[in-house]
């Protein structure tokens, strides 16, 4: 356990000191500033718009962080052969993978907490500038949405860990992670379309089967997106958060365990 924690710590330090992270944070701060200005253009539901934009900013900035920095934190080890230094220590390859994953998750949590706190400012000020007694906004749901964004990003981190465990360059794992994100973010909508037979469009059974396979195989990232509920102050169904957590543990656990198995067999010539 000590080995995993010490590797997680240096992974976290390496990520937090990355110049790219500063760039992402500056971009996020600018977007929050724009949110304050932009919300004033709306005559109604200013808090809703501010919450929506702030959550979208956290999600987008976090995504850039996981895809670019998170991906490089493992792939670069293999590209630049830093892994020689780690694997020659008394650490198993499984510990290496879990340590890396834990480090990236720590980075995600730190970044989301930081951005989440900053993001609450434009939402708070929006509430002060325009009082609408009809508007329903609940901070608890807003912060639940931020927690779910953190879970989504950590899940994408497990995807990037999985791809990095068998690809030879960081570019390939980056591309595969982006593709998985795009599929994962849209499967819920596609399956919804399939189930509702919207517009009376007929879908062939084969296509329906493929869509179902993709739906169950790829991570369902829509589970972690409750921007709509947060901005409208809608309550989540009972047990939603727990089920999301169970899904996260199950999916991320399988991917990181599979990455460990692949890594145990991999050679580093």
């Amino acid at each position: 356990m000590r080995g995993i924690l010490s590797l997680a710590y240096i992974t976290f330090i390496e990520g937090i000191r990355s110049r790219a992270l500063f760039g992402i944070f500056i971009m996020a701060l600018l977007m929050f500033a724009v949110t304050v200005t932009l919300t004033n253009l709306f005559m109604r539901d200013i808090v809703k718009v501010a919450a929506d934009l702030s959550l979208a900013t956290i999600s987008f900035s976090g995504l850039l962080m996981v895809i670019f920095i998170g991906n490089s934190l493992l792939s670069k080890d293999i590209d630049k052969r830093t892994i020689y230094m780690v694997i020659s220590r008394p650490l198993s390859r499984t510990q290496y993978i879990w340590g890396k994953f834990a480090g990236i998750v720590m980075l995600v949590i730190a970044a989301v907490v930081f951005l989440g706190l900053i993001s609450s400012l434009p939402v708070y000020f929006a509430g002060l500038t325009y009082e609408n007694p009809e508007a329903i906004f609940k901070w608890t749901i807003y912060f639940s949405a931020i927690a779910l964004i953190a879970m989504k990003l950590a899940l994408i981190a497990s995807v990037t860990i999985f791809f990095s465990s068998f690809t030879s360059t960081s570019f390939i794992s980056l591309m595969l992670t982006i593709a998985t994100y795009i599929i994962g973010a849209s499967t819920e909508t596609v399956k919804g379309f399939l189930d509702s037979r919207a517009g009376g469009v007929d879908i062939s059974p084969l296509m329906g089967f493929v869509i179902k396979c993709v739906y169950y195989l790829f991570p369902n990232l829509a589970t972690f997106d409750i921007k709509l509920q947060a901005s409208h102050g809608l309550l989540l169904p009972e047990g939603y958060f727990i089920w999301a957590l169970v899904y996260w543990f199950f999916y991320a656990g399988i991917l990181v365990s599979a990455a460990s198995l692949i890594m145990e067999r991999r050679e580093f010539p």
Partner: protein
């Protein structure tokens, strides 16, 4: 007593996108004794790094057996016995030498006080005290090499495996590394290192192996076989000639 034992080690690599295989190491058998300084020399592509990577468990042999202290190289207790310096080491850009050594110590279950004390000693010995808080990406090649040596020594291992420890170093850097290996030899450590610098091997090693095209061509006992006009360079050139050329 032999601490490193290799028995008929063979390694084939697959060529990219083809079924052709390249033999990097052909039935290598060697025994390295406790407290011995053993040099591993050969031209580029001879199989030196392949052998070292098998010892570190970075790659696995196609056939053959290797043990360190009588145990498999993947065993965690073996890894605690070893200090390894890769060829052209590359570390995390944003970590400092101090943090790198802290990681090295913690991964070997050392306590904080012991890590602090040992880091101070090593950084001083390797002339890195002034730069210990600077990120490693700002280090020169020689400094990175010395930081790598410090990392390999942090847990005071009995067996040291260095892959080209002097490659790319300036004369001052080479002298520092040379003196360090000499000191480690005096402390009774078992040292296995590869190098192209024959003069250094001759001065430091008890024995040396000449590896050409993946085959062990000759074992040289530095005290017994050299001298009276025979230098390691001469012996090495003779072996290369006998082989009839070096495979690229």
């Amino acid at each position: 007593m032999a601490v490193i034992e290799m028995e008929s080690l063979t390694k084939f690599y697959k060529k990219d996108f083809s079924k052709k295989k390249v033999c990097a190491l052909n039935s290598l058998s060697l025994k390295i004794n406790e407290g011995e300084v053993f040099g591993f020399l050969g031209p580029n592509g001879a199989g030196k790094s392949t052998t070292i990577k098998i010892l570190i468990d970075l790659i696995r042999p196609t056939s053959g057996k290797v043990t360190i202290g009588g145990k498999k190289t993947s065993d965690m207790t073996v890894k605690r016995m070893i200090g390894y310096l890769p060829e052209n080491p590359y570390f995390y850009d944003h970590l400092s030498a101090k943090e790198l050594l802290k990681f090295g110590g913690r991964s070997c279950n050392m306590d904080s006080e012991a890590i602090k004390e040992r880091s101070r000693e090593l950084l001083e010995e390797l002339d890195l005290t002034a730069a210990m808080k600077r990120p490693l990406r700002s280090y020169s090649k020689g400094m990175v090499q010395r930081a790598g040596l410090a990392l390999s020594l942090i847990h005071n291992p009995g067996i040291l495996i260095f892959d080209e420890p002097m490659s790319g170093l300036d004369p001052m850097g080479r002298i520092k590394v040379f003196n360090l290996i000499l000191k480690l030899k005096e402390e009774g450590k078992t040292i296995f290192f590869s190098s192209h610098i024959l003069h250094d091997i001759e001065r430091l090693c008890d024995r040396a192996a000449i590896l050409i095209n993946g085959n062990l061509n000759r074992l040289v006992d530095v005290k017994k076989d050299l001298g009276r006009g025979d230098t390691l360079e001469k012996v090495f050139m003779e072996e290369v000639k006998k082989t009839g050329g070096i495979r690229e």
